[in-house]
Symmetry: C2
Subunit: 464 residues, 2 copies
């Protein structure tokens, strides 16, 4: 019952798994990729990609409501909400087909089912048409990723209690919703639902929304959300969460104050949990780091021939980091150069205003006692932003006093998630503020703000 | 009648002039800036900035007409065209006020009027309240820029015959318009007018629209324009241009074929001409390069103490290059470091699809016989682009085979004008394809396409 010997068996078809499989295919290797749902994994089918389609619809809808500012008006805008969601499903389907095409193109054998590592070099298919089949391979890469974490006493039902997964598959919009957790996912769905008329309350235990971001950015986004009509409660815990006949109820607890909140739905966006269930036979013991698989700088687990990459090896749980790790792992296992270390990564939130950052926050820089300079440039001073009626937000750059290199970069506002790429490359190349300032940026663009923020670290910005 | 002695007298208040004045102010210098119209010059008042406001309105209007694709619909969209234009005037006004504020902040004396160089160290004010006054200064910087070039036998009337200047000040949309010249300005207005329902014909003498761009990009944009309903005629000359009772008529001549075209208006967008009139007294003789002032690598003219920067020193006639040159000139004249050379610059066109590029085209690379590799990545393979319903276009990167550095980069599609910034920095830092490929780009973003195009130069792109 044992199938052909593979060079690589990948378990999981998300941004780590599919990228690893395709990369190994490019290198001429014989590869199988076992995915229990659709190629593309959570990111592509139930995460980043469909949510961006929803957010784009929300953005356009909001703009259309303010079309008079641009010189025209709609008599009546009718929202076909199921269609908004259907479009996002269509986008996910199209991209998943793209990955399936790339599997074929790169001669990756795509197996629908769940994979279980029986031993180094052996994987059993546990579900699907080929259930029970054993595959042998020189290398195994585990890339099963994570899924949304649930609170222990709650049960998802897709209507009253949801995670991102359920809300993405829902064809109606709740009239009111409490979003538990103001990380990227919570904030994105809060923006989306509010834009289409849902009454949204965001509860965040920590002091700021987007708690990993620079505090100044978080405070700015919180103010913007409030202007948009979202109720934001930070430093607040949710207790006594219950489903009711109509929806849910909970107590929002801030210090010694309690407030009862009722809503149609609760979106739980409090982080992720590793997909380890049924992944390893009892005979395979991998060293773990808390709930995540421990790997070395070659993405090797503690068992020879078994690798892991992506969310399953722990934070930051980002698709682009997962892809990077997986490609490095494959390059390393097949001798295509040393795997490069993952030194830094951008983080993005796609609500409006968008947020993107890389490197340290101001607080982190101060805590480390690094002598630094800060340059800020507001989009109100950007001709392009003003022309586009998108002048909310700013660029904040933190550079080292010693050598002028970037310690951290923070952008909030229109297209922040695209703009951060330049600072990412700058950090990769150890560019100084002077090199960024000395690079001619096209006028008029939002990207000029990145040049001006660099100049502003030394009082040389022209437009502020 | 001679006023205080200045460290610097700047003639012209556009992107070169105002930047020079502000920069000198930052350095603590006593500066006057003489501008005969509004601070900000053509770019800010009658060019880049107001046109971007118009284009943004056109973009949103077009999207609203296809709102059903996003899941909602407008019953009736009413365009208040004068308001569309008024908004663009408001944006220009706001930005001009910003420059006036920056003048005050940096203690720049802003003089309304025309300036004439009487001799090294002396400028006479030729119009405005202070007409007849003489200013003396250690340094003079000429930054009078350029204006739209007219055909010799034509006279602008703002209705039948226009340049960009007149169309920006017009509150109505012609029913039909011939755009003469398919450079950036011609293409932007063609896109804008067509979007709002004007019947547009673009005539271009050369073989391609946007003739300075990579041919593949030009052909792509031409196809997109035709899909949008613009009539595009390349390799075509306009002869016998006449105003008629109703509008204009001309003969479009391609090879031995002639076609008569009639329209309400003609937009002449065939390039620029230097603003030299009345600039120099008979006693001041500056070396010229054709019609432009000749300068050395410190932006010094042939007369000691007189500098020039921006469009007045010749191509590429771009605001961002003008600003860069002016700041370098000022840094140099006041000993704040050696002026940096202007090695390369991005070029942008803000129609839809947008176009942005830096460095050489494929044709130029081939003509120079440089061994190279090309990497292409279509936005159809970008999850973000598909999610945003903006997947037309591609990234094309040309790298040197020798060292892997960028020779040229070409982007067409959504946000191309923002995305080019990363490649600009990459070229500035002499980054290789591997360094761009090795930089983690946020997922899902359009900027990933820049990483993938770099990877594609060596067959390592994951998503194609």
């Amino acid at each position: 019952m044992s199938a052909t010997n593979y060079d690589l068996i990948v378990i999981g078809g998300g941004p780590a798994g599919y990228a690893a499989a395709i990369r190994a295919g490019q290198l001429g290797k014989k590869v199988a990729c076992i995915e229990m749902e659709r190629a593309g994994g959570t990111c592509l089918n139930w995460g980043c990609i469909p949510s961006k389609a929803l957010l784009k619809s929300a953005e356009l809808y909001t703009k259309m409501q303010h079309a008079e500012d641009f010189g025209f008006k709609c008599d009546k805008i009718t929202v076909d909400f199921p269609k908004v969601v259907e479009r996002s499903r269509g986008v996910a389907d199209q991209m998943a087909k793209g990955i399936e095409f790339l599997f074929k193109k790169n001669k990756v054998e795509h197996i629908a089912g769940q994979g279980r590592v029986e031993a180094a070099g052996m994987v059993q298919i546990m579900s699907g048409k080929r259930e029970g089949e054993f595959l042998t391979g020189t290398n195994i890469l585990i890339a099963t990723g994570c899924r949304a974490r649930m609170l222990p006493d709650l049960k998802k039902d897709g209507k009253k209690i949801m995670t991102a997964r359920e809300i993405l598959d829902r064809r109606d919009l709740p009239k009111s919703c409490v979003v538990l957790g103001a990380g990227a996912i919570g904030m994105e769905f809060a923006y989306f639902m509010n834009a289409f008329g849902c009454e949204v309350t965001v509860l965040e235990m920590l002091d700021n929304v987007l708690p990993v971001e620079d505090e100044e950015v978080s405070k700015f986004v919180e103010r913007q959300f409030k202007k948009q009509g979202v109720s934001v409660m930070t430093g607040t815990k949710a207790e006594n969460i219950k489903t009711t006949r109509k929806g849910i109820s909970l107590e929002a607890v801030k210090g010694d104050k309690k407030q009862k909140i009722e809503a149609d739905s609760l979106l739980v966006a409090i982080g992720v949990t590793a997909n380890m269930e049924g992944l390893l036979s009892g005979k395979v013991k991998l060293d773990m780091d808390r709930n995540y698989i421990k790997v070395d700088d070659h993405y090797r687990t503690s068992v020879r021939g078994i690798y892991a990459a992506g969310d399953i090896i722990g934070p930051p749980w980002l698709a682009h980091v997962a892809t990077y790790e997986a490609v490095q792992a494959v390059n390393g296992m097949f001798g295509h150069g040393e795997p490069r270390p993952m030194l830094r990564f951008p983080g993005c939130t796609y609500c409006q205003p968008q947020v993107a950052s890389i490197g340290m926050t101001e607080k982190q820089v101060k805590e480390k006692g690094i002598a630094h300079k800060i340059g800020k440039f507001p989009f109100t001073a950007s001709g392009k932003a003003v022309a586009a009626l998108a002048s909310e937000g700013f660029v904040k750059l933190i550079t080292a006093e010693k050598d002028g290199e970037i310690l951290g970069a923070h952008i909030t506002g229109s297209e922040a998630t695209e703009l951060i790429a330049e600072y990412g490359l700058a950090m990769e190349l150890e560019a100084t503020w002077e090199e960024i300032h000395g690079t001619i940026h096209a006028h008029p663009t939002l990207s000029e703000a990145l040049m001006e923020a660099a100049a502003a670290t030394h009082g040389e910005a022209i437009h502020i």
